[in-house]
Symmetry: C3
Subunit: 449 residues, 3 copies
């Protein structure tokens, strides 16, 4: 079914692109040169404002998420490989779905650097959900999940940003909260009571944790680019990147401190470092573009790291035992709670916005406040409603998706061989040899001679 | 011989740089400030248009190619290390050779960001050839190959771009086709009938495949920067990057689908994922800057992934058994066939160019059509001739180079210890210990206590 | 003590940020829009000139330094993890300390992209010192060292750049020389006569060397961005990046050549490749922005690689046995000697500056020469004095810091378990399993079936 799924989906996408997708004004040779003739400079092309950020986001999606999930000892190929597959699919599908709902131009979807970033953002949300079900789903299930989740993401994003007029440049709500609660609900429906049969594989080994750190560090470094990638030019991109940088730094100290507090014998736990240190990026996803100040960013980051570590220690076991949610990567702690925190921080920060602080910059951050259409306090309310809407669509969407994925037609792995690459990948005998064929000291000597 | 080769080559390069190389107008303090005095802004400096792309290309050359080749279980040091060595050499040598043939300024070669990108491009071609002979050549052989290949690359590039007036911004012809067929011909001449004596080392282990995925993913992510790095400012860079992004996404779906079709038991094969998923970037190397449309890009990417997987499955064994070409990395499937496909797509797309579609943007993409010097159809013919010329120079150059490398003076490894780091590197006893010195459970317990 | 250290330090930082730190003109919504109203374009925002370089520097700090130190077989978690912790701390602390000494604005520290880069630079210096004491210090010791070193770094930087008027954009003196000699002096004071009890862990294994190469290659690739990140806009950033690129390329050839000369049996030594190949970046940290020419850059790089390899081979054993300096990563060879070389090259190049060569560009590189305040020869003297001052503050500061770190209150590891993650990290039983739980051929067969 995997070959058919890949090929049919891609053929559908190509046909839809052929029918509907066009270059936008900045990628079309003729249209851009008309703008040049009207006095634009090549530097006004949005490519130069956003392409470096796009590439950083791209690295987060493919290396960051991909390697973060390689911590499992026997699931590295699938972590990186399925991440690669569903991201490559989701970014194409997202271009279409976001194009549909965000407004067509004469029946056509216009694409350029901003649609590329938004497609990657939507993909990020799918990958968060992937983290919740990691190791327990077949690639066909993941593709089906992507089809539905991308669609609902686009709908929710449209409601939050366009209908409700909320701000969410870094996606605390639209990306993280949505992706996390969607994925958790899918995991709930797909609950496996006998998953402990694969328990010995659901853990890391030394080198797999190092591979995972590659993912963590890239996500951490490039999160400032993520949050600022689609904010307004000038001070907005600059400020958003800097707020995120400070939030993450404070979050990291909180994570190390808390991890040593809660872990066994005062030792650090790699799971916390790999995940909770990133919560600071999630939690300023909404407010990062606002005048949150470095001080405010650091407080938010510190809180995010704290609740994330505590979530891993105390909440995750409860989720699993009481709520029957088997959250492989702990996305509730990294994306769920910090996402909700970010939404709340965003609502409060918006409600406190004053013309005195923002000056004419208000037009970029809160155009409706600048134009006098709404009060700051009402902007705060819009933000809060957006969080509720996001949670609702995510949970309902995840519920439905879960039941669809439960149909016994996708080749889901049995309980005994979850978290195992061998059922999807040609794992070379070498993997076996690696551990058994040992050079004798003589042989090693000879080679070194 | 390696110390002598490195030091003598570097001394020659330094002397030639001393005699011939100068800062260009944008890197020279005095000349640039003259331009500033004449009304230029610092932003007009090409550095800001191209440096982010350059760094992405740089990552592809040193991390992408380097780690892609670490899939071999006992050849990781050499893969990354020789990649590093010959790339560092080739980019210097390429600066000189490309400077010679592309026009000197008063007897001097002018260098700046564009020459840096072009040097990295030329280096990429050498690294493709390296992939064909990986594991079977000494570093001195590789340096000698680089000296010759870089020189011929510059000659071919000059003929294709300057004499024939073809377009090839992302190098489907000049980089990929050239590098692949050059390397395949070298591999043919260096054919080892008894290579199966090292057969057990010519394969991957679990972690070596994960290291290789680092290379794959970086190549995949930054290919849009590769193809757009030297295209014209504005819509051209923007469009090229986007076309490449779509081509790669479609290629990835095709690769996963086809891999599961052709592989044993419907499982995915890491070799395909690591390589064929990249063919979409190769195949839009010529047409990516043209008005190929996202639709066209995706069709090309889909085709490229398909022929690449089929090549690995069906053609590579034939090449080895019938044509006696031992292509270690399968560069024929990743760079050879997709490069030819890209050249053909480029020729067709060029032949179809109309003023109606390109508007004034025609001047950037096809200056000779814009100026009325040639018809679009003739531009297509020039593109096709360029492919033939490239193939000719690559095959002939590879043939000659192969015979030069066959001289028994470079310390080539014997058939029994190909694909083995131990003959070039001090491999620490630790490599042995890693597999044998096992902590007892008691020791582990104590450490965790 | 680690939880307390992390949390108390972070709380202090947050309080100080709340009291003292403000957005600068380019990150503040109101102030930037005043500039826009006065005719600035969003492109004049320094974000667009420097953010791509900042992200490259960020990668060097967190991936480059972090993974470079993973070469130790059982210290990978600590290498990446403590690097992450102290970098996240140091960049916040550096923002405050550099803000204090470089001039407050009405009692406030102004932050933006340039302060972010400078904070990362200061962090780099701390990480160099970390390399000297790697494996022998607890995280609390490292945090205490960071507190002191960052403070002294800021003082030294202020003296060198502002009081003495020296130029040092890439930090040959302020970053590399300072960090190296500070760390070496700390290592001297913390000398462990019985360190050979942990000797068997103070070495690499095969895969740990491959992880380290990730660090090396990223440092190598992005060093041009490091040296050019805070130079003047236009030709200065462009030229600095290019000089660094050539220096590194030449350095790499020298490193491979020399490594094969000095190593056992003509084989290459990974330690040299991982480290000495980078010395070329260090050695043009001062002169890179000057009109050093590609020719000059390559000579400097060649020399730097040469002394670095020779240092590893001949000097490091002497430092350890005679001077009792146990320099785990050999920072004396990578940062110490090449840093001093870079300072000397900078002094000579400055002394040779002429208006004829620099034209009006003199104002950017040597404003005091342009204004007629000093002669070029005197600028050279200022550079040389700066080296002496840097060495003095580094050695004295390291001495004091060493004695502070010697207090028996930080949980320093005993001699028998240095270079061992297990005392700081929950090392999963999986690490043990990795080496012992071997699938039987039958099991493997079954999985592949």
């Amino acid at each position: 079914p995997l070959p058919m799924a890949c090929i049919i989906l891609e053929v559908i996408i190509i046909i839809l692109f052929g029918a509907l997708v066009q270059y936008d004004d900045e990628t079309d040779a003729k249209l851009w040169h008309k703008e040049i003739a009207n006095g634009s400079s090549n530097y006004d092309n949005d490519f130069y404002y956003r392409y470096p950020s796009f590439q950083d986001v791209h690295v987060m999606i493919f290396i960051g998420f991909g390697f973060l999930m390689t911590f499992l000892q026997r699931y590295g190929f699938s972590s990186v490989g399925f991440n690669f597959l569903i991201a490559a699919f989701a970014l194409q599908w997202a271009t279409l779905m976001q194009g549909f709902v965000h407004g067509m131009h004469g029946g056509k979807i216009h694409v350029g650097i901003e649609s590329m970033i938004n497609a990657d953002f939507c993909t990020g949300s799918v990958l968060i959900s992937f983290g919740a079900v990691l190791g327990k789903t077949s690639p066909v299930q993941l593709l089906v999940m992507s089809v539905i989740e991308v669609t609902l993401f686009a709908v929710n994003e449209f409601i939050v940003l366009s209908v409700l007029g909320a701000k969410d440049a870094g996606g605390s709500m639209t990306i993280h909260t949505f992706g996390a609660y969607f994925g958790l609900m899918v995991a709930r429906v797909l609950y496996r009571p006998n998953l402990d049969k694969s328990k010995h594989k659901n853990c890391s080994v030394y080198h797999s944790d190092l591979f995972a750190m590659i993912g963590t560090i890239y996500l951490w470094m490039f999160w400032p680019s993520f949050n600022s990638a689609v904010t307004a030019h000038g001070d907005d991109q600059h400020r958003t990147a800097m707020n995120t940088y400070y939030s993450l730094a404070a979050c990291t100290l909180a994570t190390y401190g808390l991890s040593a507090v809660v872990a066994h014998d005062g030792k650090l736990d790699m799971v916390h470092i790999q995940n909770a240190a990133l919560a600071g990026g999630v939690a300023v996803g909404t407010a990062g573009e606002m005048m949150l100040t470095p001080f405010g960013s650091m407080i938010v980051g510190f809180l995010a790291g704290t609740i994330s570590v505590l979530g891993f220690k105390f909440l995750s076991p409860i989720l699993e035992q009481k709520l029957k949610i088997q959250d492989t990567c702990g996305v509730h702690n990294l994306h769920g709670m910090p996402g909700v925190l970010g939404a709340i921080v965003g609502a409060v920060t918006a409600a406190l916005a004053t013309k005195d602080v923002y000056g004419d910059g208000m037009a970029d951050v809160f155009p409706d406040i600048q134009s006098g259409d709404v009060e700051a306090s009402f902007q705060g309310i819009r933000q809060a409603i957006s969080l509720a809407v996001t949670l609702g669509i995510a949970l309902l969407g995840g519920l439905i998706t879960g039941f669809i994925l439960k149909l016994p037609i996708y080749g889901a792995p049995p309980d005994t061989i979850c978290f195992e690459d061998g059922i999807y990948w040609e794992v070379s005998l070498g993997s076996h040899e690696e551990l058994t064929t040992v050079r004798t000291p003589d042989e090693a000597e000879k080679l070194n001679a």
